[in-house]
Symmetry: C2
Subunit: 325 residues, 2 copies
């Protein structure tokens, strides 16, 4: 007998109720141009339109809204240079908790400002000399804070699964669902929801070609640590899958596709010019895999999670102008 799964479909449904009216129900975008280009019927779940500009708000709010009144009063901590920082900051404001966010000192000023803008206290650290996990645990212990990890938590995973739940509710059955994979939380939640609704759906994760820790881990049957090469998909530059997320993904993920930075750029450009939407590099990887014909056999009806849109205009112009950016 296998142990009960750490995250169930019931957990995702309960998360959907919790985030209702707090998170956005993001639109599902379709495009005749895109369909003709890839030769399939494509449904884009646009989490770039989510609060804080990324799916991360779903998981953060689902976790923080389940804290006890005592925990909320003592406050919440998180470490992140990316979208999880703003997600925890805003979720804390919504739930009435104080937030302490640990960010690398070289985080772009705009991201630090946005996190502070949601009312969080930001503490910076030197990412080259300090261990963020040790530091985060220390700060949390000293101040009695509850640490909300970016993906290694069943409530976070259940929250992320609500995007797939909404997508399938809007589209009906799909042949496959493409999901960007970093730490694996979005995929673990999405697969939990999608396989429960539609057991025959193919769950295909997408990683940057030089950040393929989950692909290698699935092949090896155990978590494999890799040296992550430079990629524009900064939100997917994980060196090893999470323990919890991997335990779910090895059970539910059918395949992993890999994409190059140039393929991600092409997807960002198509989204900009034809769909008129802004997608950050990590958020575009699943669309890139479809456009670059990395998905075989090609599904007739395919969902794609566009996981976020946080790229400032200056960075966007660099990325699209300079292939070495």
């Amino acid at each position: 007998m296998s142990p009960a799964p750490a995250v169930t479909f019931d957990d995702v449904q309960a998360a959907a109720k919790r985030i209702h009216g707090v998170a956005h129900r993001t639109p599902v975008v379709t495009s005749a141009t895109l369909n003709a280009l890839v030769g399939a019927e494509v449904f884009l779940k646009c989490e770039n339109f989510q609060r804080v500009g990324a799916f991360k708000f779903r998981g953060a709010y689902n976790a923080i809204s389940q804290l006890s009144p005592e925990q909320l009063v003592r406050g919440v901590a998180a470490y992140s240079s990316g979208n999880h920082a703003q997600a925890v900051a805003l979720a804390c404001r919504q739930a009435g908790a104080t937030a302490l966010i640990l960010m690398p000192a070289d985080t772009p000023a705009s991201k630090i400002a946005a996190t502070k803008g949601y009312g969080a206290e930001v503490v910076t650290y030197d990412r080259y000399t300090q261990d963020r996990v040790a530091l985060g645990n220390q700060l949390a212990a000293d101040r009695g804070l509850t640490l909300i990890p970016p993906y290694e938590h069943p409530h976070v995973i259940a929250g992320q699964g609500t995007a797939a739940l909404e997508l399938l509710d809007d589209t009906g059955p799909l042949d496959a669902l493409l999901v960007p994979v970093g730490g694996g939380g979005l995929m673990a939640g999405s697969a939990t929801a999608a396989k429960a609704i539609n057991p025959g759906i193919r769950m295909i994760g997408v990683e940057p070609e030089h950040g393929d820790d989950t692909k290698r881990s699935l092949q090896a049957g155990q978590r494999v640590r890799i040296p992550v090469a430079r990629t524009i998909a900064d939100g997917q530059a994980a060196d090893i899958p999470g323990e919890l997320t991997f335990s779910i993904n090895r059970r539910l993920v059918d395949d992993i596709a890999l994409v190059s930075d140039d393929e991600i750029r092409a997807a960002m450009r198509l989204a900009f010019e034809r769909l008129k939407i802004v997608i950050e590099p990590s958020g575009a990887s699943a669309l890139a895999a479809l456009m670059a014909e990395r998905i075989s056999p090609l599904p007739a009806r395919v969902g794609v999670i566009i996981s976020g849109g946080n790229v400032d205009a200056h960075r966007f112009t660099q990325l699209l102008a300079d292939p070495m950016a």
Copy 2:
């Protein structure tokens, strides 16, 4: 007794039935960030998500779908360097007519390719030595084509009005509606619809500060021709209002606001970074007027028509990087 208006609310409602299922019903986007920034409840009618990337498809299809079978067989002509070209091309394909589009020889290759991509024949002319109106009329007469003008036609104007109709249907009563003004067709249609639904609504047009022909014409009580200065809002660089559009707008428009190119850039940047949507310069002018505090008194609930999103990634980066672009 005043003569019957050239375009009535019934005409706009009939246009809405004609375009149903052919044009997109575009989303109305809201943003807590934007509301906080401008101090009003803002509803963005996103015609950048319309087919061909701009509201122009509504008017073109409404006009072309009313042609007789004989006219459709002989074919349709239009002259345009911008969104009207692609709108007529696609509307003709939908209606089963051939399209001949007259475009300046220096039109960006991507726009010519897009127009041909919809199945149109493209004829180029030298905008410095040839008169496009004379040339268009000549070609149309020689070949027996029906010319679809970009705004001086009651069916075109009625079609453009369907965007405001949908917006007010989604939002309920608004205190004001901000509309970009070029030739005046979008405004004439919008005002016809909005004032019929909600007589107290303030209709405010927005022009580039150095392309203020409609503002001057309204002040003078007659159509005034101006030398148009260079502006990034190429879709709004009209030198004189249309005769038909002005006859409608002088009756229904309450005010005109002016915006600078830098204010348009700021609106494009905010749309990109916070709303994750792509707006072309002309399409951002009404949002720019609101952000730059050009609307006084500030309405509590305000609609803004985002008229288009056709700006390629390269041009976008130039515009936002270089204030002299």
